[in-house]
Symmetry: C2
Subunit: 123 residues, 2 copies
DNA sequence: AGGCGATATGTAATGAATCCCATATCGAAC
DNA sequence: GTTCGATATGGGATTCATTACATATCGCCT
């Protein structure tokens, strides 16, 4: 063993939650959630990817993949126009985000409960 | 959009849960859990990594890292001997695995509840 | 004493995910 | 009808996790 960096149980629980296709491929996770929210707020995929400091290329690919897996559009895409183009969340996307929020809240509560028990057992 | 591969909501929720250090590094997740259980069952890290079809190198590194982060040993390691060596779970590791089981059960229940609501919202 | 097989650990090769660059297309506004 | 900036997409470069390989050490057993 290496130097015991700490004798304290300075550990905690983390989790990730995502919507998955039957194939096992992830559809909507934390990343996509943030991306969609950013699109909603800033009005374009470009602005969203800039804000999130990820590449436009990846953001675009993620949205596209999610839409293909879901079988419906998450954004209404517009090229050209005054500002060169824009992206707007579809109604389904908005519903999805709402559901995702509710879901996360539930899981947060559950994990909080579970955590106290966990630490109890672990000491 | 691409051909709508499915008009059905054939999606489901998945989650990952793990014990993390303050630094953010993962300590015990699904992989380590399985690895420790395999060590418990088969008596050596070698056998465990073979069964799990992962490299011995990675398995060994994972255990080592987890032990360093936790500050205590998860396995009693023995080199040499009749079978060349062996690894046995420490008492703390056993307790940890028990707690992890309980935790997962709770989370599974929670996610099951959350899922029905989720599908309800999504339709 | 020597052999065997697992622990222990460094380093090079591989492969997948992501980023970076480049280019095409669109359409409202001027 | 020209300009502008975002959508759209391919392809090469890079980063990062894992595997593969290589080598040393240990200690019971014969």
């Amino acid at each position: 063993m290496k130097p015991p960096r700490s004798s304290r149980n300075d550990v905690f629980l983390k989790y990730k939650l995502w919507l998955s296709a039957l194939s096992g491929e992830g559809i909507i996770g934390e990343g996509q959630y943030k991306l969609l929210r950013a699109i909603e707020e800033h009005g374009s995929l470009k602005a969203a990817s800039d804000i999130l400091e990820t590449s436009y290329r990846k953001a675009w690919g993620d949205i596209k993949k999610a839409e293909e897996l879901l079988g419906y559009d998450l954004t209404e895409k517009h090229r050209g126009g005054k500002d060169g183009g824009k992206s707007i969340l579809s109604e389904k996307a908005k519903t999805l985000l709402e559901a995702y929020d509710a879901l996360h809240k539930k899981m947060d509560d559950a994990i909080e409960d579970a955590y106290s028990d966990f630490k109890e057992t672990i000491k």
